[in-house]
């Protein structure tokens, strides 16, 4: 006994292993915001990180411009065609919006699941080790950002806010295999106009596809249909694009359908993001 306690090296090793295990499990099971020390250190790093992200963005933009010039002509042709269709859709949309508002007033609904506000942000850095796909953005609790808000980039939803500091916050991408934060309640509006609900809760890395599960077998889903968020999960509004249906199969028990989704936005090339703040409160907290 005495000999054991006199072995200083062993004691140090034991104590440090216990210490590391303790903070590891504590931070892994943390719910709510990060401790004060962590928030401060994150912010200090993020502020200096901004200096570094500027040249990175500049380099990326330069190469992208060169890339874009190469196929400008074909893109231009395609866009011209698309714009013509867009005019019609826009006119239709404004009529529908107007009608929607009038109808809402008549039945006395102020806010629905589809109403939200946008906050834009820039990506400062990305977690270098790819195990936990997280990016750090330059907006924090000072610009009303809260944990759990949905984040968009390009054409669709890319993830959720998982940690907020005063002037920076972390976004976990949907391509992370983290069962704690990474479930999005989604829906597919089928060709017959039926709404099919499900949960996007997994990601298949080799094929780069999201997986949506818990879908009833009674409704038939077609390949190519759009998957959008349903707003039933709590903090996400309804109507954010997640991706398009690529493959449909039954789950391992044969009781529900499983849909493989091609993501609407590229998870590898993210520079600017839009954080979505739902107007209607979930009444969770």
């Amino acid at each position: 006994m005495n000999q054991f306690f006199s072995n200083k090296k062993l004691i140090i090793i034991l104590v440090s292993v216990i210490f590391f295990l303790a903070i590891f499990s504590l931070s892994l099971n943390r719910s709510g915001s990060a401790p004060f020390v962590q928030r401060i250190s994150n912010d200090v790093v993020a502020i200096s990180g901004r200096v570094f992200s500027k040249p990175a963005n500049a380099v990326n933009n330069l190469f992208e411009t060169v890339d874009q010039i190469q196929d400008t002509y074909t893109e231009n042709q395609r866009l011209k065609r698309e714009i013509e269709q867009l005019y019609e859709t826009q006119a239709e949309l404004s009529v529908l919006k107007n009608e929607n508002e009038q109808l809402r007033e008549e039945i006395n609904i102020q806010e629905t699941l589809t109403d939200y506000q946008k906050i834009t942000g820039t990506v400062i850095s990305r977690n270098p080790d790819g195990w936990l796909e997280q990016i750090v953005i330059n907006q924090g609790s000072q610009s009303q950002i809260k944990e759990g808000m949905a984040v968009l980039s390009g054409n669709g939803m890319i993830g959720r806010i998982t940690e907020v500091s005063p002037t920076s916050s972390k976004v976990q991408l949907l391509s992370t295999l983290d069962q704690r934060n990474n479930q999005v309640s989604a829906e597919v509006i089928s060709a017959e106009g039926k709404v099919v609900h499900g949960v996007v809760n997994a990601y298949d890395q080799p094929t780069n596809r999201l997986i949506m599960e818990q879908i009833t077998t009674e409704v038939k889903i077609e390949i190519g249909e759009q998957v959008i968020t349903s707003g039933l999960g709590g903090k996400t509004p309804r109507g954010l694009v997640v991706g398009t249906v690529k493959e449909i199969s039954l789950d391992s028990f044969g009781l529900s359908q499983k849909v493989f989704i091609e993501p609407a936005s590229d998870y590898n090339d993210i520079r600017y993001v839009t954080i979505v703040n739902r107007n209607i409160e979930s009444g969770e907290e």
């Binding site: 790093v45 990326n60 936990l132 997280q134 590229d266």
Partner: protein, 174 residues
């Protein structure tokens, strides 16, 4: 007074810079090589740490590693403890192995390859244990380890020569 403080503050500033470099390099690399089957992980900070374990004394080194590990964990992943623990462990190993070798470009370079591999295995192991990755060992070796080593071996000279120059200068001024 100056000679007492500078060997600690300068390395910590450099490591902090390398940590941020890792973050922005990963944005650039991801957008240039969007292939999901080739994962390249920049490990500038780790290479810097391995370099400094040849030059600093033990106590300062461990303190520095602990601090930088905390910042890395807190800033990038939010799960404290993984990098903190493994970096301290790794630097310990390097510190005890280094006496058997000469200090030159080639030996330090081989140390980098060896210990980046060890480190990648350790981090993969822990994420596999807590179920955050679907990678099998084969996936890990084929998709990740090879490309990571390739990238870091290419970047090693850009770290080694400036740091070596700097270290020589500080030792001389002392």
């Amino acid at each position: 007074m100056k000679s007492k403080t500078s060997p600690f503050i300068l390395p910590s500033l450099i490591l902090f810079g390398l940590l941020l470099t890792d973050g922005f390099l990963s944005i650039v690399i991801k957008s240039f090589f969007p292939d999901d089957l080739k994962m390249m992980v920049p490990r500038m900070m780790l290479m810097g740490l391995i370099f400094f374990s040849f030059h600093l004394d033990f106590k300062k080194l461990i303190m520095l590693t602990f601090l930088i590990g905390f910042v890395y964990d807190s800033y990038y992943s939010g799960i404290l403890g993984i990098y903190m623990f493994f970096l301290v462990l790794l630097v310990n190993m390097v510190f005890h192995f280094k006496n058997f070798f000469n200090r030159n470009f080639w030996t330090i370079g081989l140390f980098q390859i060896l210990f980046i591999t060890v480190f990648e295995f350790m981090v993969y192991g822990i994420y596999y244990m807590i179920d955050f990755t679907s990678f099998t060992l084969i996936d890990f070796l084929a998709i990740r380890l090879g490309y990571t080593l390739l990238l870091n071996v290419m970047m090693f000279p850009t770290i080694y020569f400036p740091l070596n120059h700097l270290m020589k200068k500080t030792v001389n001024s002392k």
